[in-house]
Symmetry: C2
Subunit: 706 residues, 2 copies
């Protein structure tokens, strides 16, 4: 008896196929056929109002007519009648639904209304639903053996569970994976994700003992914040590899029309992957390459790689890629090299990468693999083989996998020039050695394993909650809203930031020139003076800023002249900001944009042209642990400048980290804040903190706040 | 009768196999066997001192015994006896040699001496030689039909010629290419390149009417400057695609031990490819992917791509990659879309990328391909197909190639989830439609075709020769050499630069404090004053620089204090430099390093941290055309800063281009100059030129100058 709705879907004791068809080629036929021929271990009930038996099995006119309990119903009838069928399932007490039927949200408004009705019925009857508009589910566990899809062939059983937002792509993956010797535990085509989401599956598969590795094809995140939380927990125990499409704007638009959902910024998507340790594959090929390595081999314990080959060229190409991917060539023990010298052909090159040349025999190859894997300075090996004319490649393949099985170190293989169905390839993958068509692919896959290991073992960090003055922040925002302003004034912005412990240059707002001296005296000279008006966004272009004002007279003169000049140009003036003149630090930028999909997205970079022209910025999604914050700061290319170059003192990076975490808390607390741009923030030498010099804080239009 | 040595090698009327063997598996057997079974159209003469016939053919004890003329001799005997065999070939009047035998430079000193002897014999007898240590040559022309390799199967005839520095890799390429439907005109395994180089082959294949596309696997350039010249001419007419291994330092070291030659800096290699329009493939896979596209399809006339698919997911992945590669989605004509609406399934998405969904029929797919290829807004198309359960993929493949043949626009294909030997794949490639396993590979290959078109059509530019004062430059260098200095003094460096028309800040060198005022008066205040001494490299760290000195007294005081301070610290002082104080410009760096392999390598970037921490620099190898120089400048990421941002005036980029070209001429004229570092060069607003403020010029040690 299944305990949850998802259990009912993946481990049902009984399945009703609503829309089971007698006609080959119809989806209602193919799914029933797959369940039967792949020997589903429970009971199948075809439902067809016009038949008494389908595929040789007693069928029912309605789910309600089935005499026994039904755990799962697979709905294949057209959209117009699907709602009624689902309502009958509810009445019957069905726990899980897989709705294959298309014609919902993806076809526009009428479809969206139909989808809402579907969800309402699920809620009413307590049913859990996959889809609609999906291609079905699979569970290869021998007690279940359920292939409730219309895929042409069932996958091999194995340790991978795959969730996909494109059914066709999912089935192509299952198809191709079979030839790579890669097997699956569970498969789920998510369809429109009207109810069950990738997050639900991640949570389930994280606990599932049959699932060793999770793959996902993602077009959009339903709830990115939940994903961040759930994926982060999952990757601590199991690798998750995902393809996220819609990297480009054009691709993103296409994804919208494909799934009817917004994709959101790809920079934010990248931040999601960085923070959660989900390995992002940038192509379908990379997804396969990585999946094969993770599924078949152990994770390497270090980054020292040995390359064994019978041809110099491909070995060099492999080394180039290993190094480009951040791995390094193992330095072999002198004893290992001496040992190899005792039998290797004289032409051979025995310093890693090892090139036995075509003169090397099968036995030489086996001994070289054995020698490098036994070497304590080696964490992983890549075996490259260019099958020459006269050697049986299956013998070489056997030598490789037999040696690999004796050691707990990953071994990846490349038989160059051989197709994926060559005898050597098949020999390797059926004995759990991943084999690639190209040496570079093996190098990239190994590097991804190492990247996962580094993520898994990294310090998680703590989620800090700062004690802040939420009330003061609230009132700062309330005032601007009350006055109908979408932009906070400089002094309001500073008050808001200070309420959250983010340091700002001392600032006063005054309405008239006469009030300036008192404000400046409070702050202390030298000061900066800025004109404030509704159209004064780019103050420097209007000459509406005075820097380094050192005394009262200069302040008054400057302000009067500025006021006259602006008046002459017809620029409205609301008053002046007086601000502490901050110098002697390095400029950085802290900011936030609220993405429609991802929510608040924090940004950090060095000030000025670094951000604008070099795009040297880091993104992060709250909640951030303290380590997340530091990793953001450390990840920009210009980080060395912050740490001090050419004998300069290091800047107060810890203080910037503190500011970033406080900013994260601020934007999580107030959804009304649409955008924050602290530019520049001047960072002083280590221990001396920082000061925000200019803060631009924009509010969401009132409608969006609800 | 062959006209040149290379003709004798690739189109011989008769071939002697020196070392022809009766034993299967021996190289001397396999090559003879390949020649015979692949129906070489000339006459083969086996040479074997111990046999009267080999492989059923009358054999000779020595080349000298052959009664007829011999165009080409293939040498397979061991290294110890190869020299004698080659000498006999010389005496016989053989024109071309292919030396398969290994055991030359690649095995160390004794081998290198043997190789020198080989080359001397070729020179003496006027023979042209491929190898030694190579795997042979192929010419598929029906009049020749020569497979003088020991590859397992002959390649398909076709338009590609392939030169490779790794024989094993080359043969793996031939092997794999066969399954991709890609055919070859000529093949050459270069081996040690003791005489015939890649440059010779490029020159030959440039003129060869059978060669439409040239592929190369390169481990090191023998003469990079010749390569730049020859490749540049070749790519104007034919695409050249190359893999250059040794990108990483570790890979480069491995390449040295593989071929016994230095690889040189990979940044210089990249500059070679940029300047010559040779497409660099970064992996063996990319080499195949590009070769297939170029070999089978026309070059696209623009960058507007249509994507037709039956599945949204892979189409989106394809679009992402197209955009990442700099192509764009074609905007379809309204009429095209209206037409498709009239028959497409209602679920279909008809705005590019077109997703017909699995509901689309074979006929729908054919009509969609036809419609987009007929659309004038489309330059190329990618056809994506995820074979569903019930459609015959060969029918789809036929629909695609039949449509493609009607239009002169490139069509690339991806059948997702299908292996390279699937029926659909074979149907496509045998009808000249390249087919890829993944949608992203098709996108990358199409982008490379477009990149080639842009290179081919770009403005070549002119090689300018400036009228310079070579004598003055000479004497500047001579003085430093006479005094045994490896570094030019600031004033000497400036004199050298000015002799070549490179502008420098006015500079005087004086020996004593007393001489300072006159020098400063000549230049005009304000000036910069720097102490000069053999250990004063980093002057700012020793406080040995005074900026913005505005009058005589300040100059004298400053110099006296500085002299005292340096004396107290025991720093030797030779004198002072007085220099014009240059302000108000943007700092850039111009430089040159002389690479052991590539020769002078010019570098350009923005000054300071941009070069040091962001590695935002461009490299170029002389000779540079004026357009080459400008392309170098335009290629850095921070180029917008030079063009003026935030309302600033543009800098004098044309003057920088002039300086770069003059620098190229200078370093080509004087091989004794080892390194130049003009840092900073201050660039003024457009029309106002630039000034070199600090010039560091180092000479090669005398030994290296000869």
């Amino acid at each position: 008896m299944p305990r949850t709705g998802l259990d009912a879907i993946f481990s049902p004791s009984s399945i009703a196929i609503v829309g089971a068809s007698r006609h080959r080629g119809k989806i209602g036929y193919e799914i029933l056929h797959n369940l039967i021929v792949n020997e589903y271990q429970g009971t199948v009930y075809p439902v067809n109002p016009k038949a008494t038996s389908v595929h040789g099995i007693r069928s029912y006119r309605s789910v309600l007519e089935i005499p026994d309990a039904v755990d799962l119903a697979v709905i294949t009838v057209p959209a117009e009648v699907a709602i009624a069928a689902v309502e009958e399932c509810g009445k019957k007490g069905v726990k899980g639904l897989v709705v294959i039927t298309a014609g919902f949200r993806e076809v526009g408004e009428a479809g969206a209304a139909r989808e809402a009705r579907l969800v309402a019925l699920c809620d009413e009857y307590g049913m859990t639903m996959i889809g609609p508009n999906c291609m079905g589910v699979i569970n290869t566990h021998p007690d279940i053996q359920m292939d409730a899809t219309f895929a042409p062939t069932p996958p091999l059983p194995g340790g991978i569970s795959l969730a996909t937002q494109s059914g066709a792509l999912g089935i192509a993956i299952l198809d191709h994976a079979k030839s790579l010797g890669v097997g699956f535990a569970k498969f789920c085509s998510l369809g429109n994700k009207a109810q069950v989401s990738l997050n639900d599956l991640l949570r389930m598969w994280h606990r599932d003992p049959d699932t060793k590795l999770i793959l996902a094809y993602i077009e959009n995140f339903g709830n990115p914040r939940n994903f961040v939380r759930i994926a982060r927990e999952t990757t601590k125990d199991k690798p998750v590899i995902a393809v996220k499409s819609g990297r480009s704007e054009a691709g993103s638009r296409a994804a919208v029309s494909h799934t009817g959902s917004l994709g959101g910024s790809d920079l934010a998507a990248d931040a999601v992957f960085t923070q959660t340790g989900v390995l992002r594959a940038n192509s379908i090929e990379e997804l396969f390459d990585l999946a094969m390595a993770f599924a078949l081999q152990p994770i390497p314990r270090g980054d020292r790689v040995a390359v064994v080959s019978d041809a110099g060229g491909p070995a060099i190409m492999c080394v180039d890629e290993l190094v480009a991917q951040g791995l390094r060539l193992a330095e072999l023990d002198r004893a290992t090299i001496t040992y190899m010298k005792s039998w290797a052909p004289s032409e051979a090159s025995l310093h890693n990468p090892i090139d036995l040349t075509p003169q090397g025999s099968l036995e030489d190859y086996r001994r070289a693999m054995e020698a490098v894997l036994a070497d304590e300075g080696v964490d992983a090996a890549i075996a490259i083989y260019v099958p020459p004319v006269r050697v049986n490649e299956v013998d070489v393949a056997r030598a490789i996998w037999e040696t690999a099985q004796k050691h707990r170190k990953p071994v990846l293989c490349n038989f160059l020039g051989r197709a994926e169905d060559s005898a050597g390839f098949v020999e390797l993958v059926t004995h759990r050695v991943p084999s690639y068509s190209y040496p570079e692919s093996a190098a990239r896959a190994l590097a991804a394993m190492r990247r996962y290991a580094r993520f898994r073992d990294r310090e998680e960090g703590e989620l800090r909650t700062f004690s802040v003055n939420r009330g003061a922040a609230e009132s700062s925002l309330a005032r601007a809203r009350a006055e109908g302003r979408a932009l906070l004034r400089g002094d309001e912005a500073n008050m808001l930031l200070e309420a959250y412990g983010i340091r700002t240059a001392a600032t006063r707002f005054v309405r008239s020139v006469e009030d300036l001296p008192r404000a400046a005296a409070e702050i202390g000279y030298p000061v900066v003076m800025k004109a404030v008006g509704p159209t004064l966004i780019h103050k420097s272009e209007m000459h509406a800023v005075l820097l380094d004002v050192r005394a009262k007279d200069a302040l008054l003169d400057g302000a009067s002249q500025m006021a006259r000049r602006l008046r002459d140009r017809g620029v409205a003036l609301e008053g002046f900001l007086v601000q502490e003149f901050v110098t002697g630090g390095m400029e950085v930028i802290l900011g936030m944009t609220r993405d429609k999909v991802y929510g608040p997205c924090l940004v950090f970079g060095l000030g000025g042209i670094y951000v604008e022209y070099l795009k040297d910025v880091a993104f992060g999604l709250p909640p951030l642990t303290d380590r997340d914050g530091m990793r953001m700061i450390e990840s920009i290319r210009t980080y060395p400048l912050l740490k001090g170059v050419r004998g300069e003192r290091a800047r107060d990076v810890k203080a910037v980290q503190d500011a970033l975490l406080r900013l994260a808390q601020l934007v999580s607390d107030f959804e009304a804040i649409q955008e924050i741009d602290l530019n520049p923030v001047v960072v002083f030498p280590e221990g001396d903190g920082y000061k925000t010099v200019d803060a631009r804080i924009a509010l969401a239009p009132p409608a969006a706040e609800t």
